[in-house]
Symmetry: C2
Subunit: 241 residues, 2 copies
């Protein structure tokens, strides 16, 4: 019987079909300082938020970063689609124009900032994130973590989250907010005043759900040094022109 199973397995391998083992979907456990958006408490924080103008437009464009280095690329694509910026053709949809994590690089101006290959290897810095966004018709304001106080950080982002047609991307060190582990980029969708927390729509959906994070923890996460740029991380405000 065991031998029959072995033969069956060999035959299966022989025809080139190796079924991938089905394993539990992550996500990694959440630190006690974070609140999952996918919980009744997480939902309540959104309902009671008075700075959630960006939530629906961003959630409609939510997508997963296509590889471990593409958090910035997925974040750019979500924001450009949410702003309905004129887009390249996407061959997979024939006649429809829309940004993808592939065609967003089909623009001569992006090459001058950073190539797709370099991003695939090392991700991108805050400056490169701003530079890629500027290769499309949007206004971009870049703030490094060491340039703003907690109060300025909170207020700039809240102002944006209260109005339509602009969005916030944040670049932070995950370990500063209790996550695994390095630098990361995602859009911010809402702010809850009572708990003083921001909602991050984390684009690494294979790894973590969106979380509500304390404003102070996120601010500290932006005031960390990116070893590639030797500058602090930070956040970017993106506005339709």
């Amino acid at each position: 019987m065991k031998i029959k199973k072995l033969i069956a397995k060999v035959l299966l391998l022989g025809v080139g079909f190796i079924p991938s083992q089905l394993l539990a979907q992550t996500s990694l456990p959440l630190h006690e300082n974070l609140i999952s958006f996918n919980s009744s408490q997480g939902e309540t924080l959104l309902i009671e938020s008075n700075a959630r103008q960006d939530y629906i437009p961003l959630s409609l464009q939510f997508e997963t970063q296509e590889n471990l280095a593409f958090c910035g690329v997925a974040s750019i694509v979500m924001v450009l689609n949410a702003l309905s910026i004129p887009a390249p053709k996407a061959t997979e949809w024939v006649m429809y124009h829309r940004f993808t994590q592939d065609n967003v690089f089909d623009n001569p101006k992006t090459e001058a900032v950073i190539t797709k290959e370099t991003v695939s290897r090392q991700g991108m810095t805050l400056q490169e994130l701003g530079g890629l966004l500027k290769s499309y018709p949007v206004d971009v304001e870049v703030y490094h973590g060491d340039e703003v106080s907690l109060e300025e950080f909170r207020q700039e982002i809240i102002n944006n989250l209260k109005q339509a047609n602009d969005f916030v991307l944040v670049n932070y060190l995950r370990s500063a907010i209790g996550q695994e582990r390095g630098g990361h980029i995602s859009p911010i969708a809402a702010y809850n005043k009572e708990s003083d927390r921001f909602l991050i729509l984390d684009v690494s959906r294979y790894k973590y759900p969106p979380v509500w994070v304390k404003a102070e923890d996120l601010w500290k996460g932006t005031n960390t040094i990116d070893s590639v740029s030797q500058k602090t991380r930070g956040f970017i405000l993106v506005t339709s022109q």
Copy 2:
């Protein structure tokens, strides 16, 4: 000057880089019988819904069908991920397990239902949608449009939308609800009683936003003949085992 531009253009072509023209992102215009979810009215309908248990889990897994024929595939992936069903490895994310529109076919049981190649050519019927779902550990109830009254249609779906850990996929004729044009599949995320409308999280995000559609229009859209199966379309309830 014109010649210089022409030469520059030829050189650009010469090095093999043809920038795609940036064009307005769709979406197609919405019929007056539909309400876009991405509007203040659409948001209000969700806030006032008392059958929206499935909205957040589905919205967190929202993704775009990867080609014009993959509406059913994207819908299956959203639901399997929302239910956290054990998943194959996704090579792009190295060690993380999660369903994608590619790896959902990496299962010997799916081949017996329909191949990826056939789906790419002609999409899938309601029966095939149910069959693909059954190749994973979920309970599946298939309802054809001609088997249920409007009242039964409405009530079965509302019951599901009021509880967690199960989801609804609907297979309808777009033209019956005022859209372009053939058969389509997407998850339903919520119901609003006062307006008697369902919220469809349309997976063809390059084409239409999510819409609130009248229950009667959607029911009529399911009571239409799929030319491949020669049976009516319908809806499917998917439950975690």
